[in-house]
Symmetry: C2
């Protein structure tokens, strides 16, 4: 029995205590609310339709609500504001309805409201990275995009604009208590948001599959999702009201959440983190623009330095799962992904405002990121810069 | 979009807050114990080796322990005793190390110790079936067989010998808080116990796959496990120290637990319940003896009454997954399963002591069982009796 075998056949799996998935399941919030207190804080976007749906349910249950608008990615100042409001309001339950930003804002707030001290005490990199010591407030996540999978992950990504970085707050207790995934809520995404968030989800089932921390459980989730992702993403992009494609993409996103929480990510997210901290550009677009070149450079590095690594077969398997061709090779994969990016009009890093002068700094930061630890091969700085150049 | 589509693409998923899987992971109990109080009650079998392993860890953490031996399937009297001891002991954490009986005994006890009134208040069929109103004591399940998947299910099966029946206590809160699945612990199973428990696990990934309540999530688990089950079960049966086969069977058992908790079962379990209540015979052996004929009669009933039902394709898919032959048909499946039963020396119902005179009564009871509700086609009494006769 090899070490590799033992690694693959060993896993920890932690997720939400309840996941409710399907068209129309938002209505089930009604009966779920019975088990919680009356003072509910809602984290939301400007989408009035989603807010109305939620308000109707809360009204029926005679809940007292406090609303918190999340505009853009959550910053540590935003979380501090939310926590102060929640304490003042004597909040008993938090609900987030929105994309990854909204859910992460609610998630971090639900944990910090029950834990003393400053937010930075609990942050990686910029703070003390202390583990939280009290369980968060009950928190229900209702995603309205199919991208981050944040509804079942144990981290919240927060911006520190003053330092131009993004950092994670991370703890098993941060996994939302309940995830309600109603694909109907994702139908209002524009084609562009559909493409960006969908490519984030797609990346989040590719990177854990080839991750150093992959295992039999996450591999199962990845295979199912990799097969579904590209064709359904393109259908949802072409027709946002294609509910079947929306359902499948919500499922892919959920699988991505499971996998990244339990097997980590790779170089795409290792680079997208620093870029997202330095520039105000959509996370999914950054991931998508990097994905083809990360795969290409990973394959090249593996073949030149570790040609017997069995992960190379997993690249081939991805190519087969995506294309349906039994003869597809790992080399074909790069072209398949490039084609998907073209079909979805994914911008280049240059179009996203990333500056060439920052490549060195981005590469340095990416090497230190936690996502980079999952990458199947240790990339050197030159290789990382090549990825950035190829994606420019 | 058809109703069927909506049913398949909709699911609730609930599981343990943490699942730890892999060879040697029992050692991780050590750090897990830090989060719990000092007064620990252990449910166990006569296996001294397992008990020693546990005692060493508990000693290191200076826990105060109370031991409760579970001999045979748990009865309601046994649970009452355990609850009285636990209250007296001021128990703060329960751990069960053993097969399904031991885990179910601990599971029911952990719930009843925090809930007032008599045990029968909370039982289906023989009692009031009241939902429990307080969360159970923290409960850690450590399976030493790969069969029931009870480490992640929401029900505990209890015997009421006075009435010759088995009943379930069922609630989402009954899902063990933490499941520690160390396949090494299953190596001490005899070939016979390996065969019986393994066939229970195998049945528990077949029945949810063809269940009326199957969905995209449970289907994924079933496919993975169906492919692994027969070949690894036979290898573990032939050589109990084949750790790879043991690992795979522990994984199959875990998948079975996920699936039955989230998509229900079928006629095999619908019949095995009443038989288990009336006779003192191993549950897995009963399931295995019934499986070929249940599949045969289900297929016949489906083809004659509901020939367009897409579930027929799922029988075919099982045949392909088991055999690896792309041309395998649903009819082949019955022969494949019969062959597995022969290889594992599965006894007939007659050898298990079931009496022909009871067939009528068993059939009547099975029709009322909750498992029967998941069966892909509604079987009539004649068909059920044919299953019993064919398995005799």
């Amino acid at each position: 029995m090899t070490d590799l075998y033992h690694r693959i056949m060993k896993f920890d799996f932690a997720t939400s205590s309840k996941i409710i998935f399907g068209v129309g399941v938002i209505k089930e919030l009604n009966s779920i609310l019975n088990q919680f207190g009356h003072r509910v804080m809602i984290f939301h976007t400007r989408n009035q339709h989603h807010l109305d749906t939620l308000e109707t349910i809360l009204c029926e249950k005679e809940k007292t609500s406090e609303y918190f608008l999340v505009s853009g990615e959550p910053t540590i100042d935003m979380i501090s504001d939310a926590v102060a409001i929640a304490r003042d309001f004597k909040c008993e339950l938090m609900i987030a309805i929105g994309g990854g930003s909204v859910i992460d804002c609610g998630k971090a707030s639900s944990a910090l409201v029950t834990n003393p001290g400053a937010i930075t005490d609990y942050l990686e990199v910029v703070g003390l990275g202390k583990p939280i010591c009290s369980k968060p407030l009950p928190f229900i996540a209702i995603p309205t995009t199919s991208g981050t999978g944040s509804e079942v992950t144990k981290n919240a990504v927060l911006s520190v604009p003053q330092m131009r970085i993004k950092v994670s707050m991370r703890h098993n207790w941060l996994i939302p208590l309940i995830a309600i995934i109603d694909p109907e809520l994702t139908c209002s995404m524009s084609p562009q948001i559909t493409a960006y968030t969908g490519m984030d989800a797609f990346t989040q089932v590719i990177e854990p599959f080839i991750s150093k921390k992959s295992n039999i459980m996450t591999d199962m989730f990845c295979r199912e999702a990799i097969q579904l992702a590209p064709k359904n993403l393109i259908m949802a992009y072409q027709n946002g009201m294609n509910i079947d494609a929306r359902v499948k993409m919500s499922f892919v996103s959920l699988m991505g959440g499971f996998c990244l929480a339990n097997a980590g990510l790779g170089a795409v997210h290792g680079l997208a983190g620093p870029i997202g901290g330095m520039y105000n550009c959509p996370h999914g677009a950054v991931c998508a623009s990097l994905l083809p070149s990360v795969i290409e450079i990973n394959l090249k590095a593996l073949k030149s330095r570790d040609a017997k690594n069995t992960v190379i077969n997993k690249f081939k398997e991805i190519a087969k799962l995506i294309s349906g061709f039994a003869t597809a090779s790992e080399e074909d994969l790069v072209d398949y992904i490039k084609k998907i990016c073209v079909d979805l009009q994914i911008p280049k890093l240059s179009q996203l405002g990333v500056l060439k002068n920052d490549f060195q700094l981005i590469a340095e930061k990416s090497i230190l990121s936690s996502s980079m630890q999952g990458n199947p091969v240790l990339l050197n700085q030159d290789e990382i810069i090549t990825i950035l150049e190829n994606s420019y």
